[in-house]
């Protein structure tokens, strides 16, 4: 019983932490982020399974995680009001060619980061961008003026 409850708590905690940390940080993996991810995984494992080294225990945790992931996706699909809470909402960064600095600040992003993303999508200048949207998965979508 305790394994399922601990898994549920860990899942909720991960959900809250990832929403609090912000999508931009989670999508751009710097070396330190990668190491932190491994450390977080290890800490979560210790908290969830504790001294349980059994195959049965691992199966219970994995299966419960899978059920929670599908349940969250279903809730998000079924109830539109829960979607912003569970997945977040896209944020407009450039609107009609104008950089929205307030939204950039809210997402802790700089114009240089937007420039770098644009370069990676073969866009030569910010002037060519009509709209830029920070998607819920942390990627930036660009719509060029042409």
């Amino acid at each position: 019983m305790d394994l399922v409850l601990r898994t549920g708590f860990a899942f909720l905690l991960i959900l809250v932490i990832t929403r609090a940390v912000g999508r931009r940080e989670l999508s751009s993996m710097e070396p330190v982020d990668l190491i932190l991810l491994v450390v977080i995984g290890d800490l979560v494992q210790q908290g969830v399974t504790q001294s349980d080294y059994s195959l049965t225990g691992a199966t219970i945790v994995l299966v419960t995680m899978a059920v929670l992931v599908v349940a969250t996706a279903w809730l998000s699909f079924r109830f539109a009001r829960l979607r912003p809470v569970l997945e977040g909402e896209p944020t407009l960064l450039i609107s009609d060619g104008e950089i929205l600095t307030r939204n950039l600040r809210r997402e802790r992003m700089t114009v240089d980061e937007v420039r770098a993303e644009a370069r990676q999508q073969s866009i030569g200048s910010l002037r060519d961008i009509k709209y830029a949207v920070l998607e819920t998965n942390g990627k930036i979508s660009f719509i060029t003026a042409s």
């Binding site: 019983m1 080294y53 059994s54 049965t56 199966t59 299966v63 419960t64």
Partner: protein, 107 residues
């Protein structure tokens, strides 16, 4: 349809079977979680008692344990299965009380 998409079947029978199989699998996952929640996979303690006119003996121990977890002794995952865990109280060669129990060891 372009050449790269020519091999992709639009809503074929495989898709329907795949979704059904996935739903069955997820339902069985949910059942496993529920079973674990009610303690089916151990290690919830249950109490058994043997009462005779002269003796009352109780045993408080789990009936199912998982490998690797400490419970009086560390359960060895290689000893998976069901075995007798019967407790007897003897006065020399006279049996006073007996609690028949089995212990299920999960991997």
């Amino acid at each position: 349809m372009t050449e790269l998409f020519a091999d992709v079947a639009p809503d074929g029978r495989g898709g329907t079977i795949g979704i059904a199989a996935r739903r069955v699998l997820m339902a069985s996952f949910a059942l496993i979680s529920l079973a674990a929640l009610i303690g089916f996979f151990g290690q919830r303690s249950t109490t058994s008692a043997a009462v005779t006119p002269s003796v009352r003996m109780t045993l408080d121990a789990p009936e199912t344990v998982r490998g690797g977890i400490y419970f009086q002794f560390e359960v060895d995952p290689t000893n998976v299965g069901e075995r007798s865990f019967t407790l007897e109280l003897d006065d020399e060669d006279r049996l006073l009380a007996r609690i028949p129990r089995t212990l299920r060891v999960l991997p």
